[in-house]
Symmetry: C2
Subunit: 237 residues, 2 copies
Amino acid sequence: MAIFNDFLRDRRRDELSSEDLQALEASVHAVQNVPARHSLAISKQPIGVSTYLIEGFICRYMDDREGVRQLVAVHVAGDFVDLHGYPLKRLDHDVATLGPCRIALVRHEAIDQLVRDRPNLTKLLWFSTLLDAAMHREWIFRLGRLDAVARVGHFFCEIEAKLRAVELSDGRQFSCPLTQADIGEACGMTSVHINRMLKELRERGLMHMQRGRVTILDLPALRRLSEFDPSYLFIGE
Amino acid sequence: MAIFNDFLRDRRRDELSSEDLQALEASVHAVQNVPARHSLAISKQPIGVSTYLIEGFICRYMDDREGVRQLVAVHVAGDFVDLHGYPLKRLDHDVATLGPCRIALVRHEAIDQLVRDRPNLTKLLWFSTLLDAAMHREWIFRLGRLDAVARVGHFFCEIEAKLRAVELSDGRQFSCPLTQADIGEACGMTSVHINRMLKELRERGLMHMQRGRVTILDLPALRRLSEFDPSYLFIGE
DNA sequence: CGCTTGGTTGACTACTATCAATTTGCGTGG
DNA sequence: CCACGCAAATTGATAGTAGTCAACCAAGCG
């Protein structure tokens, strides 16, 4: 099947035995395609399935009083998007696709069985939810300590590193269906200001973005500007 | 021993069997007192023990280039502060006490055994690390979408709710050793502006803070102002 | 080829940081 | 008990950054 081909790729994947992996594959109960801008889960509702992202981009977000979104995570291929919903039993945020996606659904009863029978796989599933937590922390840092240019730069450094781990970026180019409004929702800024910061990054020769395609011109400089250190992603360990 | 008396209190604690709890207690290898402003763990270093907070306040934080802190979490009694270090094997942030603390240390080999033998306890330990992730998300929301007054208010709403779950707040008063500089490091603001926002909250009759003691004057109004909804803390479920 | 969505720019406003000076509270030692 | 010293809190003046509002442009689609 190879649905989980990208799961934890470059992150402790070797700790997964082939039996563990097979058991994981066997626990999938459906694979489906979902169009862009489509809601996958609503906050506070009890859930009984978790979503693994095979291909595409998914975001998790919360709305403020006026309905303005704050993204709390952006997921790419290989991410177990809402596995945390398994121990939590309900979500504290909404989930939606950004671009068109291909997803696999896993029922929580199936995970129960994995937890009962496979301590090693369990620990890795746990690990993967904690990777998300580590990214959350980095987002807190980004919002709390970086100025506007660095925030945008940092955001793209993260996306780039995540995509590279699953070979969807070569360190120079990758596709990314986010609009400037989406980026604003991720970075706690208005789309107008995102536009200006992208202009600045372009003029500084660091990166540019057009029609869903991001080009990184100077990754080391971009990372320096953004105080980005990828170690929190646990890639290559 | 009753070290874990406050662990997950009011949060699925009932799902813990007494044998599970005993096994957890038995896994503690030391209990110690730590003074205020004391470092407990350094970012990136491999760790083999996790810290459970019996009493006091602990923070987790990251430094920016200039060494300015950004807090990513504040922990109170009953929190398993860095249990996520067990699956991760190293931390992506520093840990330090805020006030004087009493902590219990648990070796990761001991947790290995729990994971092997006790799927139900494992799931609850996993759950507790995901509570932290849910709080991280709320911090992202706070930093990304709230203005200065609401950020401070939201911060105290969270602390109050967490303390109440372990009966350290009665909904009106609690002690809290954070300085205005600490609060600034949590809310992504300067201590000067924190001072002004506290003044505003005081003048609006919502809350005030002096000498490590917080008084909430109008919790519903404070929560409204701060767009605070405690459901992400999973208290009383 | 007009419509709609997303991107771009300018002018102006509002919020928060910065810098600097005081004040307050409290522990220490005379 | 009081004087000193330090850390934390408070306040004012000013600067800088990001938001708001509004208009316009560009690209993709039916």
